[in-house]
């Protein structure tokens, strides 16, 4: 049985590390980095990544018609994994770039960490939130299989997602405040952290994704 994964390429950033991580964890998958809507719609699984500024990403997403495409893929029931800015783009809007309308596939806002973020001892926290932090699992999910709750993943971001429906939160991380670091809704899963850069825990998550049927 074929298992094809399309990584949506809308010209923002390097997608090779996601591709090589997927190929590394599952030799049977066929990974394609593509901007071809046909290839994306025919794939068994979709990865929707993103780096850089939300406004630039949204601009390219709209130009290539990826907003409708990703919505159709999600509606079709196939497993979809959003990563980093790819997760943020799924929300209604972001505070970045003076306010940016996003894809609105998940109700909620993407907010800035703020200038005066403090840790529990009162020290000022740096923004971007960069490095390895714990993800507490809020729900049981096939993508969390064989990963301990509280396991560390690699983050680099200055904005975080705030789903209107808090039952969608799949993982929580603390950085001056508790924020949603992963969301799950039916066949859609999205992470603020980078599984492809998160060593064994990240590779486990990607391996789980390669076998996930979307339920």
């Amino acid at each position: 049985m074929s298992n094809t994964i399309a990584i949506c390429d809308y010209g923002m950033g390097n997608l090779h590390s996601v591709a090589s991580a997927l190929e590394h964890v599952d030799k049977s998958v066929i990974v394609q980095i593509t901007s071809d809507p046909d290839v994306i719609e025919k794939a068994d699984r979709i990865v929707f990544p993103g780096v850089g500024a939300v406004r630039d990403c949204m601009h390219e997403v709209s130009r290539l018609g990826f907003d409708g495409l990703v919505a159709r893929c999600i509606a079709s029931g196939k497993p979809v994994l959003g990563i980093c800015v790819g997760m943020q783009l799924l929300f209604s809007n972001s505070e970045e770039n003076g306010g940016t309308r996003c894809m609105d596939l998940i109700s909620g806002a993407v907010r800035y960490f703020g200038e005066d973020l403090l840790d529990e001892s009162g020290d000022k926290l740096k923004v971007p939130h960069m490095g390895w932090n714990n993800v507490t699992q809020a729900i049981n999910h096939p993508l969390w299989e064989n990963i301990a709750s509280g396991a560390q993943f690699y983050f680099v971001h200055s904005y975080f997602c705030e789903p209107a429906d808090t039952s969608l939160t799949a993982g929580v991380t603390e950085y001056g405040k508790k924020f949603t670091s992963a969301v799950a809704r039916n066949n859609l899963f999205a992470t603020q952290f980078h599984p492809e850069k998160s060593h064994d825990n990240g590779l486990q998550l990607l391996s789980n994704f390669c076998r996930w049927n979307g339920f």
Binding site: S17, H24, E115, H129, M130, G131, T136, V156, E196, G202
Partner: protein, 257 residues
């Protein structure tokens, strides 16, 4: 449950070979950067920095090929620096699998290059490397200045002011090297590190002078660095990354273990 402090081993690579001598017992080809990177990855490095010191222009292709090989096998963040002068250099490195790119002299020659790079590729992948040397004022107040060309050429630029300017231009992270301490094994310039880390809003990586594990811990606790970088103490097999992390964790520093 909080953001962990990072240990970043640095590979100095010349024409596709790790220099400064590496003596890992279980690595057949000790000079192969891919093998060294894999070893650090296994030991629990939080990121890897690859510093290309290849002088020749032709050597760039070797660098790209090496970065590509590391990125295909090591699934932690990879920063590549050395000789980055144009947006084409950055694009090539990112396409080979680098997650972040270090800009050093080119930023001094043209500060707007950092802005251009951050606008094009996003701040998250732009690390500005700052080489600073202590040059106290006449009245004895501490002051540090930016030096280029491996610490030989003074620029007259105040290092702390420069760090702020680089962040304003879009640097997502600062890699600070004390040229006074680099290679001495006497520890970081903690005063410089603390001053700069408290001044900038982005994470700061301390570098230059690590001779033992206490130096790494001091960089975080006294220098307020978000990450510590070292080369020789790991290269020569004096300590493993794992030992370093346990040592720091035992001093109450939050590490990924």
């Amino acid at each position: 449950m909080a953001l962990a402090k990072r240990i970043i081993p640095c590979l100095d690579v010349d024409n596709g070979r790790v220099v400064k001598g590496v003596k890992f017992v279980d690595i057949r080809d000790a000079g192969d950067p891919v093998e060294v990177a894999k070893r650090y990855n296994r030991e629990g490095a939080d990121e890897i920095t690859f510093l290309d010191i290849t002088a020749s222009h032709e050597g760039r292709d070797t660098t790209y090929a090496t970065v590509e090989k590391i990125a295909a096998e090591v699934f932690i963040p990879l920063t590549v620096g050395g000789g980055v002068r144009t947006v084409v250099d950055i694009r090539n490195l990112l396409n080979c699998g680098a997650d972040k790119v270090g800009i050093n002299s080119a930023a001094v020659q043209n500060p707007d290059f950092v802005k251009e790079a951050a606008d094009r590729f996003g701040s998250q992948c732009i690390v500005v490397a700052i080489d600073a040397k202590r040059v106290d004022d006449i009245d004895g107040r501490p002051r540090w200045e930016i030096f280029t060309h491996g610490g030989r050429k003074p620029t007259g630029i105040d290092a702390l002011e420069w760090s702020e300017r680089m962040v304003a231009n879009g640097a997502g992270e600062i890699l600070l090297t004390s040229m006074d301490r680099d290679g001495t094994k006497n520890g970081f310039d903690l005063e410089l590190t603390r001053n700069m880390s408290e001044r900038v809003s982005v994470p700061l990586i301390a570098s230059g002078g690590v001779g033992n594990l206490q130096h790494l811990a001091d960089g975080v606790t006294e220098g307020k660095a978000d990450a510590v970088l070292a080369a020789s103490i790991f290269h020569f097999g004096e300590y493993t990354i794992e030992e370093a992390k346990r040592f720091m964790a035992n001093q109450g520093i939050n590490m990924r273990i």
